[in-house]
């Protein structure tokens, strides 16, 4: 599969993981965090949760993966695309926490930070791993040899 398409498939997988993780966080915290509002604030349409979520999915599936492909060669922590994906997701998480935090304060901010960090790392890793597998990047770089110790 070519690189952009693999990245988009990877992005779709990553966004699914990320959305499920965020939903679980939301429910588990009995909506104390209000993640949908966070998402809406993050993508710049505060108050409109449905639109916010759609924009969020679109960005995670198409925009970020394409940026990822464009930047791939320059990203640190290579050559494994999955690790690069994690590095790629970290700035996204910083933006997410800064822009989305809203009125949260105190101890709950720690939970918010840590759990969303996990969700973003999972996004980056999935994006990179799926992309690497589909585009052949991973296999090409670390082949599984057929028993080299054979004499």
């Amino acid at each position: 599969m070519n690189k952009p398409t693999s990245a988009i498939v990877g992005g779709a997988a990553g966004v699914s993981v990320l959305s499920v993780a965020l939903l679980l966080i939301e429910v588990e915290t009995r909506s104390r965090i209000g993640l949908f509002a966070v998402v809406a604030r993050f993508v710049g349409v505060p108050g409109n949760q449905a639109l916010g979520f759609l924009l969020f999915v679109a960005a995670g599936t198409i925009a970020w993966p394409l940026v990822f492909v464009a930047l791939e060669a320059y990203l640190p922590l290579g050559p494994d695309p999955a690790i690069r994906g994690v590095g790629f997701a970290l700035p996204l998480w910083v933006a997410f926490v800064l822009l989305g935090r809203g009125e949260l304060s105190g101890a709950i901010l720690i939970v918010f930070g840590v759990l969303t960090l996990f969700a973003h790392v999972a996004y980056g890793f999935t994006l990179g791993a799926v992309y690497g597998r589909l585009s052949g990047e991973t296999e090409a770089r670390r082949p599984m040899p057929a028993y080299p110790d054979e004499e």
């Binding site: 429910v27 909506s31 104390r32 105190g106 939970v111 599984m144 057929a146």
Partner: protein, 619 residues
């Protein structure tokens, strides 16, 4: 006219439509798969003619190699979903158990970290009391029934046949069934959360469906003491009880399979005298399950009836709340040995491998395992010293409880002696074994302290108990799950994990467990009550309490980091780790510790080698 009724009507119709669509989809899928299994003949021009011909395979001109579109699609997926849904192979089922246990562990672990966050501040500032109660309830249930039990059942499924030289488990289909009962039971126990996830997802995009928000997470505690568990109106409690019952059925099915496999499917070479230590413990554990879980099942049914059908088993006019405690703990104490015996078995298996010596006192370890199996049923009332049951009863239970400490001490002694003069290699699994034994000593000693009636009266409702049992559940049980995952990683994935990262992980885990749970012992001795969301208003708040809680939470964060390291290492190494090319990745042959599962692995590698002549092999 009836707006409320209309709303529920609309929701019911919506629900029926959704269920209908799902059923329709499932039917379509299964039909496609079935026709797919007949070689995808439906798509071809000539297929109409032999459509009625049941032996369609014979009529295929291509000899059955041409795959349908669905088959080709499946082949391109990294994992074949149909295979994983329908497998009855013991190793596949074992792998499914591992995956399930992992999900549950992460879920329950999140609960634990959230509990600790609440306790950062003396007031209820993070979650409310209701949420806090729900958190420790679901944390306990998830960890005990859906993390540890499945993890060890997975070990049994994967490795028991290899150890006793059987081709398969005795009843492969029962085995698969036993596994597939678990996901629905987990969903039932935590149903409120799941329906809420759907509710929130729908609400984010449009309407808020109130039915999906009906179920509140249960707040009974994992012991579900009557009368509280009878009085709570929350319908989710009923689902939880049914879910637990279902998980009990699954566990019993698994246990029957283990017992029959060991009894009848052994290789003639493997006699009772030569069965290895892990199989002994798994076998004993299965025996305990067979006697303990039916009691839980019955008690749960009685509780459901008390809640819904007006029976009075656990009400004062019936048997009374104490009856619940007797039944529950008659199951509950053996349950803690169901969890810990396989962990002991893993210590006894893995520790000698990296000490370069055979297990010291093999026979005594087996005897002590069997002794624990029997005695574990005779100590249940030590959980009830604080309820004011008859003093004569109490003292006899105290005696038996002290007696059951002996076989555990025998094991500990034998492990330490195995290390004596050994050629110790500090690999990650070995570090975890040694750390686990050390932490188990703390857990065991604090347990003996609690066995003394007057001490228990004072400490029963405090954090001391929480500290004590976590030194065991986290300190040795979870620790050995990690150790086993490293020890068998090459066999499971044909790749090696990152050893340095694993060693760092092992050390951080040991430190984290100690830092988390030691402060709880101190809190308990200071009289800090357990299961309290706030301690600002507790009687006699001690100035050290916040500091101790911060320490514990810091330790929990260390555990969290350590688990993340493990997760990363395992995910990454399974993807791109260094391939393992020998059947003896631990150099066990050198010290005469090469065991049957590695022999099997070696054989399999050799077979692959014969098949693959050159080039890179698709994994």
């Amino acid at each position: 006219m009836f707006p409320a009724l209309q709303a529920t009507l609309a929701e019911s119709i919506a629900a029926i439509l959704v269920v209908g669509a799902l059923l329709f989809g499932a039917g379509w899928l299964s039909r496609t798969i079935r026709s797919d299994g007949r070689g995808g003949a439906r798509g071809r021009a000539g297929s109409r003619a032999n459509g009625r011909n049941r032996a369609g395979d014979a009529s295929r001109s291509d000899g059955g190699t041409r795959a349908s579109r669905l088959t080709r699609l499946r082949a391109r997926l990294p994992y074949d979903p149909i295979r994983w849904l329908t497998t009855v192979n013991h190793r596949d089922v074992g792998t499914l158990y591992f995956a399930f246990a992992l999900v549950a562990a992460l879920w329950g672990g999140t609960d634990a970290l959230m509990i600790r966050t609440e306790l950062l501040t003396p007031g209820t500032t993070v979650w409310d009391e209701q949420t806090y109660n729900a958190l420790f309830t679901t944390h306990g249930l998830t960890m005990l029934f859906f993390f540890v039990t499945p993890a060890f059942t997975g070990v049994a499924n994967y490795f028991l046949p290899l150890f006793v030289g059987a081709d398969e488990m005795a009843f492969p289909r029962v085995n698969a069934l036993a596994f597939w009962l678990l996901p629905p039971s987990l969903l039932l126990v935590r149903a409120g959360l799941v329906t809420e996830v759907f509710g929130k997802a729908v609400a984010a995009l449009g309407p808020r469906l109130e039915v999906l928000f009906l179920l509140e997470p249960p707040t009974t505690g994992w012991t579900m003491y009557a009368p509280l568990s009878i009085m709570q109106a929350n319908p989710q409690v009923d689902l939880m009880l049914l879910g637990l019952h279902l998980s009990g059925v699954a566990t019993i099915l698994g246990a029957v399979n283990i017992i029959v496999t060991v009894l009848v499917d052994r290789d003639p070479e493997v006699t009772w005298a030569t069965i290895d230590i892990l199989s002994w413990t798994l076998f004993t554990t299965a025996g305990i399950i067979l006697f303990a879980f039916p009691v839980l099942g019955s008690a749960l049914v009685m509780l459901v009836m008390d809640r819904n059908f007006g029976t009075t088993f656990f009400l004062v006019e019936g048997g009374g709340p104490i009856l619940w405690q007797h039944l529950f703990w008659f199951f509950g104490h053996p349950e803690v040995y169901i969890l810990v015996l396989p962990a002991f078995g893993l210590v006894s298996l893995i520790l000698p491998k990296f000490a370069g010596r055979t297990l010291f006192g093999f026979k005594f370890i087996v005897y002590s395992t069997l002794a624990i199996g029997v005695l574990s049923f005779g100590v249940w009332a030590h959980h009830m010293f604080a309820t004011g049951i008859d003093p004569r009863l109490q003292s006899s239970f105290m005696a038996v409880t002290l007696a059951i400490a002996v076989p555990s001490a025998v094991k500990t002694f034998n492990w330490i002696t195995t290390l004596w003069n050994g050629k110790i290699r500090l690999t990650a699994p070995m570090i975890l074994c040694i750390g686990g034994v050390g932490l188990f000593v703390v857990g065991g000693v604090t347990g003996v302290v609690l066995a003394s009636i007057p001490v228990d009266r004072v400490l029963h409702g405090t954090y001391y108990v929480v500290g004590h049992f976590h030194f065991i559940v986290m300190g040795v049980i979870a620790m050995m799950v990690f150790a086993a995952s490293y020890y068998w990683f090459p066999l499971l994935t044909r790749r090696m994990y990152d050893r340095r990262m694993a060693r760092v992980q092992a050390y951080t885990l040991i430190i984290g467990v100690f830092v988390t749970f030691f402060p709880m012992l101190l809190l308990g001795m200071g009289g800090h009550p357990r299961r309290w969301a706030e301690y600002a208003s507790a009687l006699g708040v001690h100035p050290t309490w916040p500091v101790l809680h911060w320490t514990a939470t810091g330790g929990a964060a260390i555990i969290g980091i350590s688990v993340t390291l493990w997760l990363f290492n395992v995910a990454q190494s399974a993807r791109v780790g260094t391939p393992v090319t020998t059947g003896d990745p631990w150099d066990l042959k050198e010290t005469g510790q090469f065991s049957r599962e590695w022999a099997w692995f070696e054989e399999r590698l050799a077979e692959r080698r014969r098949r693959t002549t050159s080039g890179t092999e698709e994994d």
